[in-house]
């Protein structure tokens, strides 16, 4: 210890990172934030769970942008716990007495500590969004990023940090951080539970999104719900940070007053958000908030389909699905080739939004005159935990099976589902359907379980007789031209139930 006046520092110097006190405080807080220590583990966790699931979705900007928003649930839970832990550190480190003798209001100190957690959390979430968007940019064939869900997700992460910090600061305790983590992980589910009870305000939950299958592809993204969620989340942030300024120890009268105002404004924002969310309406285009919606918002997105003109009939998809066109052609064209030119055969195949001809999420159907084979975008939604590349093959295999069921049923008729046909006629339709299925590489008689039953030929729920199997094998063994010629000549009789198994060559 030196007694000789102010010593000249030797060997080291503080870096002049910022000229402002707030900037220097932030630098210190950023440097020693617990969130900084947890960045790598949380990033790994995020990579192995949310990122893997998200990149498993088809490379569509609409779908991936929306899933990015839902990923805030995991990040938010962890961030809330870390924030609560950070807020309680002064008490845990027995440093409150020393801090109480300093001039700067405690609220400023707390805001700096919270901001460091929020900044690191935002960086983590931002990096996650960046990875998803960069990968999608390399894979997607149409469209552009939708920033609304990412903005909601980022704001939700900040809100989690603010609420967690407020709990940690106002109710410091050994169990505060773990309880806050659990609470933050479960809180978004309150919205889901409310929706199950038809309470529309539940849509305020940041894990709820306004999209439907085809959002951002056929129909524009309606930002109304995102705006409402942002209003609510900003309110939560204001209220939580304002609450920190209310206790007398937070600072002087000015700080107290600012806290009260922030809480009041925050509560008003949050209440407004909840009230607006309560007006949400489910439409075919997605969730609509009337206050933020105009008729022009429902106008479909214009696009030029991409088609394969070398197929038996034109097979056209939305350009966003350009990457899967060859697989779709490969799945459907062999089936179409078998029945080409027959009455009821689709004249084209097209991917359509769910609103067209009453398609449902994962549906396909042949309808109209001339018949058109409609596919819905839901067919390309993958199961969580899979990746697009690995799941595409079974997806395409399923598409071929579903296409075969739909097209064959349309061409040779529904096998006796109304009970008006004789068992012999049903057997003929079943055998022909089974023969075609064999030819296109599908099982002749798929397992007749409840989930696969589609009232299609060859799927009657009871095993086929040996005679039907033999007829199917005979039919499949014919040359392509002979099989097609026989079908052209006899399809009307097959549909009318006028043939027997012996008539099948």
């Amino acid at each position: 210890m030196s007694a000789v006046g102010p010593a000249v520092p030797t060997g080291w110097r503080l870096r002049a990172w910022s000229r402002s006190a707030a900037g220097r405080l932030m630098r210190l807080e950023l440097h020693r934030s617990t969130m900084l220590l947890l960045l790598v583990p949380v990033a790994l966790l995020l990579g192995f769970t949310e990122l893997r699931n998200n990149l498993g979705q088809a490379p569509l900007w609409g779908a991936r942008s929306i899933v990015v928003q839902r990923s805030m649930e995991l990040v938010g839970g962890i961030v809330a716990g870390v924030a609560a832990w950070t807020a309680a550190r002064d008490r845990r480190r027995h440093i409150t007495e020393l801090l109480a003798t300093t001039a700067r209001p405690a609220w400023v100190r707390q805001i700096a500590a919270w901001a460091a957690v929020a900044v690191w959390s935002l960086l983590l979430y931002g990096a996650y969004v960046a990875v998803v968007f960069v990968v999608t940019a390399r894979q997607a064939t149409w469209g552009s990023p939708n920033w609304w869900p990412a903005a909601v997700g980022a704001t939700a992460v900040v809100a989690c940090s603010a609420v967690g910090f407020a709990f940690g600061a106002l109710i410091p305790g050994r169990f505060t951080a773990p309880l806050v983590t659990i609470g933050a992980l479960l809180a978004p589910q309150i919205g889901t539970l409310a929706l199950q009870r038809n309470q529309q305000w539940g849509r305020i939950s940041p894990v709820e999104d306004p999209g439907t299958s085809g959002t951002g592809v056929f129909v524009p993204y309606h930002a109304g719900l995102s705006i409402v969620q942002l209003i609510f989340l900003v309110g939560v942030i204001l209220a939580a940070l304002g609450a920190l300024a209310i206790p007398p120890r937070a600072g002087g009268r000015g700080v107290h007053r600012a806290g009260v105002v922030a809480v009041a404004v925050g509560v008003a924002f949050a209440a407004t958000g909840l009230a607006l969310a309560g007006t949400a309406r489910q439409t075919a285009q997605g969730i609509v908030i009337p206050a933020f919606h105009t008729a022009a918002d429902d106008r479909p997105i214009a696009y030029t389909p991409v088609c394969d003109s070398n197929a038996t009939v034109p097979i056209c998809l939305h350009p966003a699905y350009r990457a899967v066109l060859p697989s779709v052609v490969n799945a459907i064209d062999p089936v179409l080739a078998e029945v080409a030119g027959l009455p009821g055969t689709p004249t084209r195949v097209t991917l359509a939004p769910t609103t067209v001809v009453g398609l449902k999420g994962g549906d396909l159907r042949v309808s109209g005159n001339p018949p058109v084979f409609y596919l819905s975008p839901g067919l390309f939604v993958l199961q969580p935990g899979t990746t697009f590349a690995s799941a595409l093959d079974p997806q395409i295999q399923q598409l071929r099976q579903d296409a075969a069921d739909a097209v064959i049923a349309k061409v040779i008729g529904q096998t006796g589902s109304d009970g008006t046909m004789t068992s012999n006629a049903v057997a003929v339709q079943t055998a022909i359907a089974a023969g075609i299925r064999q030819v296109v590489g599908l099982p002749a008689f798929p397992a007749a379980d409840a989930t696969n039953a589609r009232s299609a030929p060859g799927q009657q729920g009871s095993p086929p007789s040996p005679a039907v199997g033999a007829a199917a094998t005979r039919f499949a063994a014919l040359s392509s031209s002979a099989r097609h010629a026989w079908l052209v000549a006899n399809v009307a009789a097959v549909r009318a139930g006028q043939l027997t198994l012996a008539d099948i060559p």
Partner: protein, 247 residues
């Protein structure tokens, strides 16, 4: 006078920690002696604006700490080292001292030099980049002293500052105290009478919440001549005054 105290009391429930202390002191080093539970730390905490008094008047640096604005002004010019120093283990010594410099609202432009100076003065220049968790007890104490003096305080309150320091460091610290006491009011609460003898210009002895002696170290020594118990003259004065107060 930088510290003006009149009939100050402080209660914690049924316990009267400080029972009517009156004390005026200006620039110099004031040693606050007393047995455990005498009320030294409570008095220091009141002077540090950590807690308010139950009754009596307290003026620090010519201001009333009950008013928020005055309290803030006092805190800008205050240095405080608590008995049990809490710290953030992940901070380096430099970060820790800088953090408190910023919380004391020092002009930002002067912070880097002030931090460096404070750290050098407590002899931790070579450990400035070390995390606090890696320091020994004595080094931590010195880091605590560095944060207390970083703003060149007009009023410096040190509660057991030499606890954990080795004899050589203690000698250096006393020199530092004397130097600080030339410009500021330094109040040192301690059990170690030799610290008082070596560094303090004034001494107060507390017992049962009251100041039972206020004078110079020489006057305290004089009280012990022929009466007190102890190895050193100051110790004999200390024990003689305490014995008289208790009788």
């Amino acid at each position: 006078m930088n510290v003006e105290i009149a009939d100050l009391t402080r209660r914690f429930g049924r316990t009267q920690a400080v029972a009517g202390v009156t004390l005026d002191t200006g620039v110099g080093v004031f040693g606050l002696l007393g047995p455990n539970g005498a009320g030294k730390t409570s008095l220091l905490r009141m002077m540090g604006t950590v807690i308010g008094p139950t009754s009596g008047t307290l003026r620090l640096l010519g201001r009333d700490p009950r008013a928020h604005r005055s309290r803030t002004e006092i805190r800008r010019r205050l240095g405080y080292l608590p008995q049990a120093l809490g710290y953030y283990p992940g901070f380096t010594v430099a970060e820790f001292v800088e953090y408190f410099a910023l919380l004391k609202e020092m002009p930002t432009s002067s912070v880097p030099r002030a931090v460096a100076t404070a750290i050098e003065r407590v002899g931790l220049g070579d450990r400035a980049r070390s995390k606090l968790r890696t320091l020994s007890g004595g080094m931590l104490r010195r880091a605590g002293i560095a944060q207390a003096i970083v703003n060149e305080p007009e009023l410096l309150l040190l509660d057991e500052p030499t606890a954990g320091l080795d004899p050589e460091q203690r000698v250096e610290f006393r020199t530092l105290l004397r130097e600080l006491g030339q410009r500021s009011t330094v109040i040192v609460s301690t059990h170690l009478v030799e610290d008082v003898g070596a560094a303090c210009s004034e001494v107060g002895l507390m017992n049962a919440g009251r100041i039972v002696f206020h004078g110079t170290p020489d006057e305290l020594v004089a009280r012990g001549e022929g009466h007190g118990v102890g190895d050193a003259p100051l110790e004999r004065g200390y024990s003689a005054v305490l014995a008289a107060a208790r009788s």
